[in-house]
Amino acid sequence: MLELALRHAFADLELDIGFRSAARTVALFGDSGAGKTSVLNAIAGLLAPREGRIVLDGEVLLDTARGRHVPTAARRLGYVFQDGRLFPHLDVRANLLYGAPGRRMDADFANVVALLELQPLLARRPLTLSGGERQRVAIGRALLARPRALLLDEPLTGLHEGARRQVLDHLQRLKQELGLFTVLVSHRADEVASLADEIILLASGRVTGQMQVATFRARYATSQAPADALRNASNWIG
């Protein structure tokens, strides 16, 4: 269960977002500049909004009215960044274990390595990896820190078609096997339709709609167009 209310002013965007969702995987869907990543950063604690309240599974992560702000390092959220952000000086194994030092050999490690097919990559450095490989390592690194929720920021953007399908398959397997609460940010309708249970539509820093995936599929899944093309459609929803 995620409950979120945010107000924040950027130089070029006024964020005023509120929603509540009980779905296992919530997608924030909208075109670039809608404020999707800012919402994710606020959930992770990397953005301190002017005003806001964020409650995840009953725990208050942020409540500016009461001066509560759980530090990022204590939130236990597995953030997979759009640009991967692997540590360039560490090999894949050390990257994977960064959030879980001392768990080198345990079953979780073996499971995550098997699930994401990382075995052949373990000794490599991030700069030698392809985009898809890098993203799989980033997902594995986030999972091994034993998060209570996953935050995925455009995890498939910038990947070529083959890698995209591969990472998407892995994300779907993760969803089935781990059932971790996930917030997905994406501007692509097809990704959202295949991963999310509930969708929050965002445009220019506002929520413009909220719907279950079945409704979303019925409206958008035939289209693979980016959200920009759907902006007009999303304006009359909700």
Binding site: A44, G45, L46, T72, A73, A74, R75, R76, L77, G78, Y79, F81, D83, R85, F87, P88, H89, Y98, G99, R125, P126, L127, T128, R141, A142, A145
Partner: protein, 231 residues
């Protein structure tokens, strides 16, 4: 030109020892200050930065005088240290302080540039993985800055090895205690028949400077080679 005399060996050994000790002593402070200047915004930050870089601009003799006023037997810091049984005025440890202060701006500058070039988004990623401030510093910022830190150490060592003005005004010229290589050269210049000694020691200074420069290039080159292999 003949081999170095025992006095000249002594001056060389002392200069090497003072140079190394000054870098070791200054490094933790330089790391802390560079991190503050690179990552934090606080009132008085510009003033602090100006103070750190002051020894670079101030005449070294003045820096030496300030050190004498502070660390001398009746200076505030000197009395404090004397209470702990440590005397630095006219001791080799005083020469270390003088050299450390003179090399400090170079050390802080290099390290700060290295810290600035570490992508703060990597620190944010580490933070989401549960790393607190200290772990982020030691596991992300520090290893990614090693090249700049090493370059700063070599620069500061070279600066310390050649230190003259602050050292002679703070701890004077005592053979075996504070007569470093540059001070020995200066003394020989003022002694009839001292010229061969001046030449020998100058040659030694040249060799040490070349070696330091080679080490710096090797460190930077090694790091470059590694990053190219990974690209």
């Amino acid at each position: 030109m003949t081999a170095l005399s025992p006095d000249e060996w002594q001056a060389l050994a002392l200069s090497l020892r003072v140079g190394l000790a000054s870098v070791v002593a200054a490094l933790p402070f330089a790391l802390g200050l560079a991190w503050l200047l690179s990552r934090k915004r606080f009132p008085g930050r510009l003033l602090l930065e100006a103070l750190v870089y002051l020894p670079l601009i101030l005449p070294p003799v003045v820096t030496g005088y300030v050190l004498l006023a502070l660390f001398g037997r009746h200076g505030p810091l000197g009395e404090l240290l004397a209470g702990l049984g440590i005397v630095v005025a006219f001791r080799w440890t005083g020469a270390v302080i003088a050299a450390a202060v003179m090399g400090f701006p170079l050390l802080v500058m290099s390290i700060r540039v290295a810290f600035d070039s570490v992508d703060p988004r990597l620190e944010a990623a580490a933070e989401t993985l549960g790393a607190g401030a200290w772990r982020r510093f030691t596991s992300v910022v520090l290893p990614l800055s090693l090249r700049g830190i090493a370059a700063g150490c070599v620069l500061a060592f070279a600066r310390a090895f050649g230190e003259f003005g602050a050292t002679i005004s703070f701890v004077s010229n005592i053979p075996g205690e504070t007569r470093t290589l540059p001070i020995a050269i200066y003394e020989l210049l003022n002694v009839p028949g001292g010229m061969p000694g001046v030449q020998r020691l100058s040659l030694v200074a040249l060799v040490v400077a070349l070696a330091a420069s080679a080490v710096a290039t090797f460190v930077a080159g090694g790091a470059l080679w590694r990053s190219r292999r990974n690209a």
